[in-house]
């Protein structure tokens, strides 16, 4: 069919709709601002107009997505984006996932999700929150305008190529054609974009000065929803890395991974500190700032993924849209800081809490820890760029840096968590608190001791020798005199090495404390209401969803932590084998039986069969494979095969195989406790769903509401069902067949022997500089370049060269960025000194704040008789109020 012009039809219409929704979003924004600032009484009319215009904008965005989807489904290769990311052979579901596979489409996808959130927000808003609503809508439309501008100017997904449509598209990168790529970006995006709605509420609160409960209550479920999907999205990312990327791990502290988890930490901090605000009315501006910051981090993360600012396995192509993000982020910072500074004086009430030893104070500690972690991750992620800008040095901050420094922090976090769980609101009676600690403490000590005593025999020794990430002795100088020397690298390595048993103890402590909380609540109900245990438990959770849902989420998180600790015990081995040969790893003997070929129109599979026995008994049959896609024959991929058990995972990849001789290069890992991470994640999600579950409509007395107004609209059952289904989809992850993609493998068999500890120490500190792989260290990268380097280094070590010299020569040859971790020298010390200083300062501020807030001690009223007498001397009004108070309390407790 002849087209009159190169972009007639969908491309032109799609671009037109793009411009249209940019304009209508701007119109809605203006109407909303007019409604918010109106003094002449036209506000309700203008607000309604703004709302409808916002809904219309969302409809147009939906239309645009449909048009692009149509382009994919009808294989309209005139559209550059469609031609680049699809081909005629792709099945329907991958055509849909190709929508967000590339830069422009993912921006449109971001906008589409934002439009969904906006519609739900506008529809549930209806006419309530008259003061806040205009500004919520204005903010959301403002973000839409930003994305509209980027797409219209720099990243139009509908742009058509002048030269006409190619006959066939390029097809989606095979590494993206898998189950996880279908669900990981959408779920993470849902979490990311979800931060925009709380952001809008926070901005509205600041602009109108209504910093009280109204906005926090309205925003609460949005925050929980976004947080839940951030959790799911990040865990799916971990699963994807584990089962697809094939390097044996699940989190590489990749800049984009870090950017995706940063908002999670700040939102978690918010979820806790908002509970202080609800009870004491303090920290209003802090909570607002947390939400503003979380949204800023999502934009920052989106920016990092796209600008190629910091090289990462996730980077889309380097493109010109980075500058738009920079302007937007600058504007955001100005707006947010300006609003906060403007409203700071509004906090008139003197902040007060009842006691230092209270949950309020513990939540301050929680915020301190989580913000500290965020600062650390943010600084380390951006350090390469900072170093490059400030003093022109090219650096890498590799995974070993994060793992080394965050391990002690995680352990402290576990400790703060368990104290927080056991401490009641308002005021803790110290003796009762100690009594509450007894059980969990016993459990913790027992677990820790068991780990120390039995650890080695089960392969999880309590003390691990960890190679230090740097080995530099720093003198401590004070006024010119040398007080002593410190070797930070060795110190941290020593500390990390002794942490496993401590971590085990704390995990057990936390789980015991949480179980005890459930038990105490259940028993209280059994005693006071005479209910049986299961009924008491169900009713208990039903009436205190936030508390017990939150506890469940805590359990989930702690279980995940246990899984992360297990990752420290990873073992690996590799071998080049002919059919029939076997090699050993831990308790397992892996026998390579041979290969088989499976062929279809899209892919040619070479599948190996590996029979695994454990201590002589048959354990599993694993089938690692190599895939060669018809569309991209030069980029074969490795498929992982995993046998998951509660205790450990056995994980095998086949890096290369020679089809004629059938000699295969296999690499195997034993990953203890990895299954716990995914199980913990599911528990976490269940906990959040319980916390989010809408109260029954009888909640008129329970749910706080403004004077005279109707009860707050409850989140629709449909929305919660959707959430449950999506979360349930996360359960399916475990059932999905495992595949791995590792694109830069070559077919040359690599020199494979299990590296000696000495060799490994050197390999782990150096990065592979082949240019293809994403910052992998020499110990994991399997490309030809890495092979050669490893061989050279082995020779040098055999000749007796010092590891330090070898490393220095490597760095001299390939530049300072070839070091996995920046050296502990000069300005690079700031990389750890700054976060430590921030955390110390934060601790100081936190303690001072809490002490200032704690009131003078409450006078102890001597006896009930005296209390009764005191009440009786009040006038009748007091007792009438008491009656009303009792009634309202009773209404809650049923």
């Amino acid at each position: 069919m002849e087209h009159p012009s190169y972009d007639a039809g969908i491309p032109a219409f799609g671009t037109g709709v793009l411009y249209a929704f940019l304009v209508t979003a701007a119109v809605s924004l203006c109407l909303a601002v007019l409604a918010g600032t109106d003094r002449a009484g036209a506000a309700p009319r203008l607000l309604r107009a703004a709302r409808l215009a916002a809904l219309g904008t969302c409809a147009l965005i939906g239309l645009d997505v449909m048009l692009l989807l149509y382009g994919f489904l009808s294989h309209d290769f005139r559209i550059r984006y469609v031609a680049h990311y699809s081909d005629r052979s792709m099945p329907l579901h991958y055509l849909i996932t190709a929508l967000w596979g590339g830069q422009d489409g993912s921006l449109l996808w971001w906008t589409f999700l934002l439009s969904l959130y906006t519609s739900v927000c506008v529809l549930t808003l209806r006419a309530r929150h008259k003061e806040l609503a205009p500004w919520v809508i204005a903010t959301l439309m403002g973000v839409v305008v930003f994305f509209g501008v980027i797409m219209s100017w720099a990243a139009n997904p509908f742009s058509a190529s002048f030269v006409g449509a190619p006959l066939e598209g390029e097809g989606l990168n095979p590494s993206l054609q898998n189950f996880y790529m279908a669900i990981h970006p959408p779920s993470l995006y849902v979490g990311f974009v979800g931060c925009a709605v709380p952001f809008a509420w926070a901005v509205a609160a600041l602009v109108t000065g209504r910093l009280g409960e109204e906005w926090t209550l309205a925003a609460r479920r949005w925050v929980l929803f976004a947080w839940m999907f951030l959790s799911i999205g990040n865990v799916l990312g971990m699963l994807w890395a584990y089962e697809e990327l094939g390097w044996g791990g699940f989190w590489a502290w990749d800049p984009v991974e870090n950017a995706a988890c940063l908002p999670w930490w700040t939102l978690t901090a918010y979820l806790h500190s908002v509970m202080i605000q609800e009870r004491r009315g303090i920290l209003k501006v802090w909570n607002v700032a947390l939400l503003l910051f979380s949204f800023f981090l999502t934009i920052f993360g989106t920016f990092l993924t796209r600008s190629g600012l910091i090289s990462s396995v996730h980077s889309f192509a380097q493109s010109g849209i980075g500058i738009y993000f920079v302007w937007f982020m600058g504007g955001l910072v100005l707006l947010c800081v300006g609003l906060v500074v403007w409203r700071l004086p509004l906090i008139r009430k003197a902040a007060e809490i009842d006691a230092l030893l209270s949950r309020e104070a513990m939540f301050v500690a929680n915020n301190w820890m989580l913000l500290g972690i965020s600062v650390f991750i943010a600084l380390a992620t951006t350090w390469p760029k900072i170093a490059e800008w400030l003093w022109g040095e090219r650096l890498t901050v590799g995974a070993s840096f994060y793992n080394a420094w965050l391990a002690p922090v995680a352990v402290v976090l576990l400790l703060v968590m368990c104290i927080g769980v056991l401490t009641p609101w308002r005021k803790a009676s110290p003796d009762l608190l100690l009594m509450a600690f007894r059980g969990p403490l016993v459990a913790g000590i027992a677990a820790g001791t068991a780990h120390v005593v039995f650890g080695r025999s089960v392969g999880l020794p309590a003390v691990v020798i960890i190679p230090p990430i740097y080995d530099v002795v720093t003198p401590i100088k004070l006024f010119g005199a040398t007080l002593g020397h410190v070797n930070v690298g060795r110190g941290i390595a020593w500390l990390d090495g002794h942490l496993p048993a401590v971590a085990t103890a704390l995990v057990a402590l936390n789980v015991a404390a949480l179980a005890q909380e459930y038990w105490r609540g259940t028993r209280a109900r059994m005693v006071s209401k005479g209910e049986s245990a299961p009924i008491a438990l169900t009713r208990l959770v039903g009436k205190n969803r936030r508390r017990y849902g939150g506890y469940l989420a805590h359990i989930g998180f702690v279980v995940m932590m246990a899984g992360w600790v297990g990752a420290a015990y990873r073992q690996e081995a590799e071998a080049i084998l002919a059919p029939g040969e076997s090699f050993r790893l831990g308790h397992y003997t892996l026998r390579y039986d041979g290969i088989s070929f499976i062929r279809d129109i899209t892919v040619r599979q070479t599948q190996a069969k590996v029979t695994v026995t454990r201590d002589g008994e048959f354990f599993a049959e694993l089938r690692p494979a190599r895939f060669s896609y018809t569309a991209r024959p030069d980029q074969p991929t490795s498929e992982v095969s995993i046998a998951s058990r509660l205790r450990e995972d056995l994980y095998i990849t086949m890096n290369s195989v020679d089809p004629t001789t059938r000699v295969a290069h296999l690499k195997a890992f034993v990953n203890p406790l990895t299954l716990w991470i995914w199980l913990g994640a599911m528990i976490l999600v269940c906990g959040v769903i319980i916390a989010m579950w809408p109260e029954a409509s009888k909640a008129a007395a329970r749910e706080p509401r403004p004077i005279g107004g109707r009860p707050k609209a409850v989140v629709s059952t449909g929305k919660v069902l959707l959430v449950t289904v999506l979360a349930g989809g996360a359960v399916l992850l475990l059932a999905a067949p495992a595949h791995a993609q590792n694109n830069h493998m070559t077919s040359v068999a690599s020199n494979a022997r299990q590296a000696t500890p000495n060799e490994r120490r050197v390999f782990e500190q150096l990065r592979c500089m082949c240019g293809d792989c994403p910052r992998e260290s020499l110990s994991t990268c399997a490309c030809g370049f890495a092979d050669g380097q490893r061989e050279r280094i082995r020779d040098r070590l055999a000749r007796g060269d010092e590891p330090r010299t070898i490393i220095e020569d490597y760095v001299a040859r390939y530049g300072s960025e070839s070091l996995e971790v920046p050296p502990d020298r000069g300005a690079n010390k700031a990389l750890y000194l700054v976060p430590v200083a921030v955390m110390l300062a934060g601790a100081g501020v936190g303690v001072r704040l809490v002490r200032r807030w704690a009131r003078k001690p409450v006078p102890v009223i001597p006896s009930p008789a005296a209390t009764m007498a005191a009440t009786k001397t009040d006038d009748d009004a007091a007792s009438e109020y008491d009656a009303r108070i009792n009634e309202e309390l009773r209404g809650h407790d049923e």
Binding site: L47, G56, Y70
Partner: protein, 211 residues
Amino acid sequence: MNDTAERAAKHVGLIALAAAVVVAVPIGLVKGAPTVVLWIGFVLLAGAVLLFWETLQLVLDPAQPGDVDEGDDDGAALAALDERKRAALQALRDLEFERSIGRIGEDDHRALEARYREEARAAMKAIDDGVGPWRARAEAMLAEADGTAEAAPIAQAGKSTKPATLTKDAHAEAKPDAAECPKCATPNDEDAVFCKKCGHRLQEEVADATT
């Protein structure tokens, strides 16, 4: 009037949406997935056009009614007092819970409970004092309306003076022993807790009337 129109409009929207979804199925079976996508796109386009038409009317015509105010907005002062009251009640609930699971001692509990009860009482009293004048004004207007037997505009407790958007059916159905809602003047049963029309809480008012 606006209420019924809005409800009908909402239902029309839902019906149209349902119809669109239902039509999508045969389209998909006959013509395939791409056409379904186009159909959904068309529905969205139609929706957008309708919404913008409505928006245009709202902007250009000052006589168009805005949203019905479903939430009461008694001003920042009352909201702050309400917040204090709710915070105090929440404190009392927390205290009760902590005591029931044995985490707070009896002395501490008594002392804190006394403090929070005092706070709750003070807040409730302040609220009643604050709301009092508005209630009196509303009652006066009701009396006036009853006397003249015409639809009297009732100012919402708060600041705006625009005409109310409520029907006058309520007056025709007035029963002599009914309690009237101070907000919308609908007669309700004597022991009604909430107004059957607007949902305004009547309980406190009834209690006040009897003391």
